[in-house]
């Protein structure tokens, strides 16, 4: 199952041996060994459809759009992509970068090395040149050659000092030239691109006298030059440009004309074939999307019709997608217009967001709110109210670096224990964690089903890595997960038939009561945050308290029984029979773990991977069973303390002794997992904690 598929073409076998994690960079080794430990890709060997490409630049300069245009062109050429997006918490100026990995087969993660670095500013060059593989290439603006590193004021001082020291050791100047010389010495191919000339020529061709109007095309020029050295036909780029600027004819024209000039300028510099090549392949139509978009699509398919939010990174992108798709086509509706619509409301704060969504849910609409750390902290009281009143409220929570404002644009899985226990008192909740785009989509439907079937607040837990990274996937199926509304009373009933008053919180065996909604004749009910009787009126009687608490908590057992096993966890095994190591993890580490498993298997290491998806109710028996007999268990997660390991210990009494953690705000790469798992296997210890640190 994890073997390479036939679509992956190798003209010569060349296994990428990833670099060591960055933490080794600080150890005192000789300059040459300390530099990239990547194996040189020999000139004779050409790697087809397997590379990583990076672009970067000041935030707001079109880094995202150029990366998307690059990825779009690859996907139009039938290839698969994974995009890692890193940005600062500011709008204009500071450095952001976007790494796009391209492959002939589906990929799910990024790697440590960059094979092609496409730059159009000095900073990207300075920061990332040392990540480029020997044999790889750098595209750059030669007019930057004399820029001194310490003059680039958006680079943090420690970074400047580190780079300058590195160059000084090799006797190189602390300038862009020094950076380029260093790269050249390592066997990196350098491709100077005279962006200004190309822009001037483009301007002349379209008859535009103001050069500044064309300055924005520079990022597309670097994309085009990249495709030239990668031997990828220009047509794909042009198509991608047309998609990106669909409605703006003039913008399309200037980009395409410039792209052609840049393509030719780079191509003429090639003395021999570049060791990395892209070749189009035939493929089915696929989606290129980010996690927030996968969630949003799932929500709409899953029937979400009210979404409230207060702007926060990275959650707000989801609401914006929903708002821009607020009216959509439906195929079998009961209305003649064949249209559906979602109401997206930006509220005054997250307290209003959760309370409005809860109010909406009381009317029978599927309603959700979407937030990140600080926002969820504000929502907590409302969460408890929804728990007390058994409201099917959905919260999509995007984890980012905490605590407090933390690292607003950076990745972390630090909220698991908070989400599991947030709000005072005890009440049941569903917590479902998605690991990739497909799961984000399907889980966004399932979470509404769980919320309505078990009548409790239900949290869909995502993380920043998943939210903002992009990936090529086959289109998900709209009808794979049917809509299930549990004990919702449907239709216009006049009373509940037996002459008895309706009891919203009627005691039942499974804890779930038939649910009426506001405005339903004959089904009057009350809600209160106080303990209440079956009608929903305040009741402090101790016997009633015991019964009501038990009723509510019983629903957690009911949900544990009714939710199918394959929605609670995934279990992956490599083809080798005996597993040398059992990885346990959750969330977006799924991608790099699955990709690393391929590499580990190539090395003859048998791997099992238990991906926990449902954390509340917790699949205790499964986890026990999978971990109890394992030869070596390694917990992998992106937080400081190993929060899932703590939950596992609490639920199963199993101590996950070997942990691989990362909390520098950058997602784990395939290479980091590959290496660190090998490290643990070679020397398993009691209470070992490997801290990963790769990422700029």
């Amino acid at each position: 199952m994890l073997a390479q598929t036939a679509t992956m073409k190798w003209t010569a076998v060349s296994v990428r041996v990833p670099t060591a994690p960055r933490m080794n960079d600080v150890t005192a080794q000789s300059a040459t060994t300390r530099l990239r430990e990547a194996k040189t890709v020999s000139r004779a060997i050409v790697k087809v459809n397997d590379l990583s490409w990076m672009t970067g630049g000041p935030q707001g300069s079109g880094v995202d759009s150029s990366a998307n245009i690059f990825a779009g062109a690859c996907v139009l050429g039938g290839l698969w992509t994974f995009g890692l997006r890193e940005y600062y918490s500011s709008i204009k100026g500071p450095h952001s970068y976007f790494e796009v990995r391209v492959n002939g087969d589906k990929i799910r993660s990024h790697v440590n090395n960059v094979d092609v670095l496409a730059t159009f500013d000095a900073e990207t060059l300075i920061r990332h040149a040392d990540e480029v593989t020997s044999g790889g290439g750098i595209l750059y603006d030669p007019t930057f050659a004399n820029i001194e590193i310490d003059r680039v004021d958006t680079i943090e001082t420690p970074v400047v000092l580190r780079i300058k020291a590195r160059l000084a050791k090799q006797g190189l100047p602390g300038t862009v030239t020094g950076i380029l010389d260093e790269a050249r010495k390592r066997g990196v191919n350098l491709f100077p691109i005279q962006y200004n000339d190309i822009i001037a020529k483009t301007a002349a061709q379209i008859g535009e006298h103001q050069l500044s109007k064309l300055s924005r095309i520079v990022n597309v020029l670097s994309v085009s030059a990249s495709f030239a050295i990668l031997g990828f036909d220009e047509t794909y780029l042009n198509q991608s440009i047309e998609r990106a600027f669909a409605s703006k004819k003039k913008v399309v024209d200037m980009n395409e004309i410039g792209a052609k000039l840049a393509y030719d300028a780079a191509k003429t510099q090639l003395k021999q074939p570049f060791p990395f090549q892209l070749q189009p392949i035939q493929n089915q139509p696929r989606l290129l999307l980010m996690g927030v978009e996968a969630v949003a699509l799932g929500k709409l398919v899953g029937g979400c019709r009210v979404q409230t939010y207060y702007p926060i990174t990275p959650a707000a992108d989801e609401s914006e997608f929903l708002e821009s798709h607020g009216n959509f086509d439906i195929s079998a509706g009961n209305n003649l217009s064949q249209k559906g619509s979602i109401l997206v409301t930006q509220t005054e704060d997250e307290i209003a967001a959760i309370t409005m969504a809860t109010g909406a849910a009381l009317t029978g609409a599927r309603a959700a709110t979407s937030t990140s750390g600080p926002g969820f902290s504000l929502m907590v009281e409302g969460l408890g109210w929804a728990g007390m009143n058994e409201v099917p409220l959905v919260i999509t929570h995007y984890q980012r670096g905490g605590p407090a404002t933390g690292q607003p644009t950076r990745h972390e899985q630090g909220d698991l224990k908070f989400i599991l226990s947030a709000a005072h008192g005890e009440f049941p909740r569903i917590v479902l964690c998605s690991g990739d785009m497909e799961e984000s989509f399907y889980d966004a439907i399932r979470i509404f089903n769980y919320a309505e079937r078990f009548q409790m607040p239900s949290i869909h837990l995502i993380d920043k890595g998943l939210a903002n990274n992009s990936m090529t996937i086959s289109p998900p199926k709209a009808d794979l997960v049917p809509i299930q509304r549990g004990k919702l009373i449907q239709g216009d009933h006049q009373g509940n038939g037996n002459g008895e008053p309706y009891r919203r919180f009627a005691f039942t065996e499974d804890g779930v009561s038939p649910r009426a909604v506001l405005g339903m004749p004959g089904y009057r009910f009350w809600n209160t945050g106080d303990e209440h009787d079956e009608m929903g009126h305040i009741e402090e009687d101790p016997d009633n308290r015991v019964k009501m608490m038990t009723k509510r908590m019983t629903k957690l057992e009911t949900s544990a029984k009714e939710i199918p096993e394959d929605e609670k966890f995934n279990f992956f095994r490599s083809s080798k029979k005996q597993a040398d190591v059992t990885i346990v993890s959750w969330g977006s580490t799924k991608g790099p773990i699955l990709d690393a498993m391929k590499l580990l298997e190539r090395d003859g290491i048998g791997v099992e991977f238990l991906q926990i998806r449902l954390v509340s109710p917790f699949p205790t028996e499964t986890v026990k069973q999978k971990l109890a007999g394992a030869k070596l268990v390694v917990g992998i997660e992106q937080n400081y303390s190993g929060q899932m390991a703590a939950v596992i210990a609490e639920k199963t009494m199993i101590d996950v002794k070997n942990k691989i953690v990362k909390f520098n705000g950058r997602p784990m790469s395939q290479d980091e997992i590959y290496q660190s798992v090998k490290q643990v296997i070679s020397n398993p210890a009691q209470n070992r904690r490997v801290v990963l640190t790769h990422g700029a």
Partner: protein, 330 residues
């Protein structure tokens, strides 16, 4: 079948203190409901937390007793998801003007078609009499260890500044007047506020029933108390903004609201301070984006076909993200 007052009774024991002004507000609301052309099955009452917020349990209509300060969040969410509901929110002055004042302000910006009654008693009743945001500076009600150190919020002026399109005041023990205000507020198209002055005999020993009634001010001529509240309408006041008014006329009217809202002490105006139906309600603004909204609001959309499969056309929805691969001839 006409709705009777007894239909609105519940079995729940009413635990308000004897003589509490909340009784007057409850009675006025129930009378208003029986006199209005509303379907009681569509009425949804929402409340926050406080003595006043228990009202929903004493009333036989859908009753959602929420969190302290958050009544407007829940109420607005329900109304937006199902605009056919007749949503009425109630709560204390601490609830709406203290902890929940942010929501109060923003509700004005939205102008959703619903009504909101604040039980304005100057104290935090349920937590035993601390100062509420409407208690005036320097006042020392019964359970305050020291006189109130904060200035007070003027609910009328705050509502005006926030964009409320119906602003009225009434008095809990003038049930006839309060009932009429509630009927007007519910009939008003837009967000309607009633600041209901409410004596709390247990903790507010300053703004008492006797004080409002002017029992300390005997008219030498009639030998009868001179009530402190007076009806704005009786003075010929008209706070209505209409589409045909000039900017100047509108300005004049707004100033008049501010002027009247500042009266307090011996002359406390009650009645409609301000009404403006020229501002589009939020529901209309949504309809402009989503033409099906009022006909097919979120609460009434069909989500799935008979077999449970989603009705959404995912292919059309995800068109912008779909890439056909166009392999060129090699």
């Amino acid at each position: 079948m006409a709705l009777k007052l007894t239909d609105l009774k519940t079995e729940v024991h009413n635990d308000w203190c004897p003589g509490c002004g909340d009784f007057g507000i409850e009675a006025s609301l129930k009378m208003a409901l029986t006199e209005m052309p509303v379907d009681i099955n569509k009425v949804a009452l929402f409340s926050g937390i406080g003595c006043s917020s228990k009202l929903v349990h004493f009333t036989n209509a859908f009753g959602i007793h929420t969190l302290h300060g958050r009544v407007l969040g829940y109420a607005q969410g329900a109304k937006l998801a199902n605009p056919d509901l007749e949503v009425i929110a109630v709560g204390g002055d601490g609830d709406g003007l203290g902890i929940g004042v942010g929501h109060f302000v923003h509700a004005g910006r939205r102008n959703i078609d619903m009504a909101y009654i604040i039980h304005d008693n100057g104290v935090y009743g349920l937590t035993k009499g601390q100062a509420s945001p409407t208690l005036h500076l320097g006042m020392q009600t019964k359970s305050l260890p020291e006189p109130n150190i904060n200035s007070s919020i003027n609910p009328i002026m705050l509502a005006l500044a926030s964009g409320f399109t119906f602003i009225a005041r009434s008095y809990a023990y003038n049930t006839r007047h309060l009932k009429e205000m509630i009927k007007k507020a519910v009939a008003h198209k837009g967000f309607a506020l009633i600041d209901a002055l409410q004596p709390c005999p247990t903790y507010n020993d300053i703004n008492t029933k006797e004080w409002y009634g002017g029992e300390d001010r005997i008219d030498p001529a009639t030998k009868r108390p001179m009530p402190r509240t007076y009806d704005l309408e009786s003075t010929g006041y008209n706070g209505r903004i209409t589409a045909d008014m000039s900017e100047d006329e509108v300005d004049k009217n707004l100033l008049q609201v501010i002027e009247k809202s500042r009266e307090w002490g011996d002359k406390i105006p009650i009645g409609v301070f301000y009404q403006n139906e020229t501002v589009p309600i939020y529901e209309e603004r949504i309809s402009e984006r989503s033409p099906i909204y009022l006909k097919e609001p979120p609460a009434r959309q069909q989500l799935a076909k008979e077999d449970g499969k989603s009705v959404v056309n995912l292919a059309n929805l995800s068109k912008g993200l779909l890439f056909e691969s166009l392999v060129l001839a090699q």
